[in-house]
């Protein structure tokens, strides 16, 4: 049975898109057919991680929301473009447009939320996906609420930061109100000097929710700077191992 998984955080800069892209790749490496959709229409970016150039983008989610095409026509097969070990499964990326005029148009005109909802489900059915990963805009907004409302699992990412801690409380409360079947937290960019077991315990106790993994701050991740998929470049890195842990828990 197909799964819809949303990756979210209350604040920006927590690592949502990187986490989404890397978990997508890990799941595809297991042989799964994975779709990944960028619903951050205001500030799209995950296409950069998958190496999809603006000129090669063709149709985007924006085109679908404007009724120009079917959602499947926005799905770009990026499986073989990522480098590293060949991936057994498949990755279909549904990007949002990075063109300033098109972003402004969506902001100005709005869009049919029902169409976005139908699009999620049509992708799963028409592409026969095992998993649909939804990369979200930070904070609470209509796209985020919709994606949480339809997701089988939600990963909330936070950094060990007071603003993130407070915001995560809000998001956890919303997720519980929307009856998300599975809620996982992921603490990201944790300084190596912290006691990771302590961090995990405190976060689990604070939010009464399972922590899927605690990821260390990584100079390699910062240096890579979204120029590619981390787990393919650094398959033996401890961040990769932690992301594998998250992927395993999501599919359990």
């Amino acid at each position: 049975m197909s799964k819809i998984i949303s990756i979210h955080s209350f604040r920006g800069g927590t690592g949502k898109s990187n986490t989404t892209a890397n978990i997508t790749t890990l799941l595809a490496a297991q042989g799964l057919k994975v779709g990944v959709i960028d619903t951050d229409i205001q500030s799209p970016g995950i296409h950069v991680l998958f190496g999809l150039d603006e000129d090669a983008m063709g149709h985007s989610l924006n085109d679908y929301l404007w009724g120009k095409c079917a959602i499947e026509e926005c799905a770009h097969d990026v499986t073989t473009t990522l480098g590293g070990e060949p991936i057994k499964g498949q990755i279909y990326l549904i990007p949002s447009s990075i063109k300033a005029g098109e972003i402004a148009r969506v902001l100005r005109e709005g869009y049919d939320v029902g169409l976005l909802n139908d699009g999620f489900h049509d992708l799963v059915e028409n592409l026969n996906l095992d998993v649909l990963m939804i990369d979200t805009h930070p904070g609470l907004n209509e796209e985020t609420l919709l994606s949480i409302a339809i997701s089988d699992a939600l990963v909330i990412i936070l950094r060990p930061d007071q603003q993130d801690y407070q915001g995560t409380g809000v998001t956890v409360e919303v997720a519980r109100k929307l009856n998300v079947p599975r809620l996982l937290l992921m603490v990201n960019k944790v300084p190596e000097v912290f006691n990771f077991a302590d961090v995990q315990k405190r976060v689990e106790e604070t939010y009464n929710s399972e922590v899927a993994a605690v990821l260390p701050h990584s100079d390699e991740m910062m240096t890579l700077a979204s120029a590619g998929i981390f787990v393919l470049r650094y398959p033996n890195h401890k961040v990769t191992q932690a992301l594998k842990q998250v992927a395993t828990k999501l599919m359990a």
Binding site: K99, A100, G101, E102, A104, L107, R108, E109, G110, Y111, D112, V113, G114, N117, D118, F120, H121, E142, E143, L145, L146, A149, I150, V174, K177, L178, N179
Partner: protein, 114 residues
Amino acid sequence: MGLFDRLQDEIDARGRQEGLSPIDLLDLPQGLATIAKKIVRKNGMSLTEIAEDMGQTPTEAQAVLDELVAKGLIRRVEVNEEIWYKAHFARKADKKLSLGVWSALDNILDPERD
């Protein structure tokens, strides 16, 4: 008060609205929220499924659903010759900026220039 009666009260208290917003899922009254969230999560449910879920007869469930349709929160669709109920989402509102700002942005962001 049974679920059916409570739902009737919640529906009666609610005016007609031009579709459901995802934000509504957070502040609808409990009974309406339960149905709405399930319908949204499954992207549509048949009358039989909804009746079973609500623990009501199809006739009772139909009455509730007809009122929800009348209130603009859900809509009827035909799926394989069966009537299903789906969320009737409102269009996401456009950003309310003055016309002058959009006009200025258009001049800068002319798609033909990109």
